[in-house]
């Protein structure tokens, strides 16, 4: 973070550039019929992610203080270099396999890459100190939900690659929508992280929880008895939420059985036409 004085204007265009590069690469990577832009797409995605890492993780900032534009490099910000390396590896694993999930043609490969995304997210949870969630994500998501997905895929997958796996709806528009989403979020975040331009001597209201006294996380979320404290919180303050979640599981179970066991069959036009969809 920069200790900027009044009148410092931080440029937002590098973030926009990074997200646009990323989205252009995603557009090239998405299945678009026979056209392939794999290498260019991979390069653009990697360039966008690298620029985003420089801007967010390493604190590279372009700003205008007076007439001439300047830039500043803050270096890795999390702590020791080991913490940075671990975080960057986990984040790269998560985001890279997420890109592969979206762009691979074969749905089975998509599911496998999504499992790798889940492992990365579990690692990121662990990095935050929430061990229970890291394990629960791997067990519940990768172990149960994803296997169910794979089960249905094996049941329903036709031989070879189906044509609808080789084309996308409006790949360019979708990638642009994602770029707008990510760009707006990251720009709002970076503005919230910058020092505000209030007059000197006033407390800075730029961020939500900027308290003077240090927070003792070792007694809170980083408690050595992690699961015990989480369970105590879960079954005291949030007891109703747990009851509602259990009821929801029961309702979903009954609903799934009701959906599958209904034997009424519709005559859908796509079946008789022989493979082509007409509205």
């Amino acid at each position: 973070m920069i200790d900027g004085g009044a009148g410092m204007i931080v440029a937002q265009w590098p973030l926009a550039l990074a997200t646009l590069l990323f989205a252009a690469g995603l557009w090239l990577l998405l299945p678009r019929g026979g056209r392939s832009g794999r290498q260019a797409g991979t390069g653009l995605v990697a360039a966008g992610l690298a620029l985003l890492t420089l801007l967010v993780h390493f604190g590279l900032t372009f700003y205008r203080n007076g007439p001439s534009p300047q830039w500043k490099f803050a270096g890795p910000l999390l702590g020791s270099w080991a913490e940075d390396v671990v975080f960057l590896a986990l984040a790269a694993l998560t985001v890279g396999s997420a890109v592969c999930t979206v762009t691979f043609r074969s749905p089975v490969y998509c599911a496998i890459w999504f499992a790798l995304t889940l492992l990365g997210v579990g690692g990121l949870f662990m990095y935050q100190g929430s061990q229970f969630l890291g394990v629960a994500t791997v067990v519940v998501y990768a172990g149960a939900i994803l296997v169910t997905f794979l089960f249905v895929l094996m049941l329903a997958q036709p031989e070879g690659h189906a044509f609808y796996d080789r084309v996308s709806w409006e790949a360019a528009l979708s990638a642009f929508a994602g770029a707008v989403m990510v760009g707006v979020l990251t720009m709002a975040l970076s503005q919230a992280m910058q020092p505000s331009q209030v007059a000197e001597g006033q407390p800075t209201p730029r961020f939500w929880l900027e308290t003077d006294q240090p927070v003792d996380r070792a007694a809170g979320v980083l408690n050595p008895e992690h699961v015990a404290s989480l369970g105590g919180r879960l079954f005291s303050t949030h007891l109703i939420a747990i009851e509602v979640a259990g009821t929801l599981l029961l309702v979903a179970l009954v609903g799934a059985v009701a959906i599958v066991s209904s034997t009424r069959r519709l005559d859908h036009p796509a079946r008789s036409v022989g493979g082509r969809a007409h509205g």
């Binding site: 985003l52 995304t117 990121l124 989403m181 069959r265 859908h268």
Partner: protein, 150 residues
């Protein structure tokens, strides 16, 4: 360790996961891949919730993520049951088969050109049967027919 920077990094990773999932949900046509992308958006939200919980030094974010896990499991159960039913109607996982659910006065989507399959179906050689086929007893024929249907 810079807690604010940690929060910032996690929120950006969560935003990236959410955005990638959004792109996949909008662009892909396979229903199961669409559901995978929806789950990925949930993961992005979970990441930011855990980061906020750590920043504010309480467990509420993690509790909310547990609820999200439950809802995701319920969603997967019902969604996969639905996908199976839809698959039984058309024998395909293509979401475009269900475009009759679109708004009124919207033109129908028709695939203009279907891309050629990169991996065409292999043509296996066939062996010509040699010798004379022995006649089968009726019980044997019944058994073979039964096996074919099992």
């Amino acid at each position: 360790m810079g807690e604010v920077q940690l929060l910032h990094n996690y929120l950006v990773v969560g935003a990236l996961l959410f955005g990638i999932g959004l792109v996949g949900l909008l662009a892909r046509r396979n229903m199961i891949v669409m559901f995978l992308c929806a789950e990925m958006m949930l993961q992005g939200v979970s990441l930011s919730l855990v980061a906020w919980g750590r920043y504010h030094n309480n467990f509420d974010g993690q509790v909310l993520v547990i609820v999200i896990l439950t809802v995701a499991a319920c969603e997967a159960a019902t969604a996969l049951a639905l996908v199976l039913m839809l698959y039984h109607h058309t024998d395909r996982l293509d979401i475009a088969d269900w475009q009759s659910l679109r708004e009124a006065n919207q033109p129908a989507f028709i695939d203009e050109e279907l891309p050629a399959d990169i991996h065409p179906k292999p043509e296996w050689p066939e062996l010509t049967p040699a010798g004379r086929e022995a006649p089968l007893s009726p019980e044997k024929q019944d058994e073979l027919r039964h096996r074919l249907h099992v």
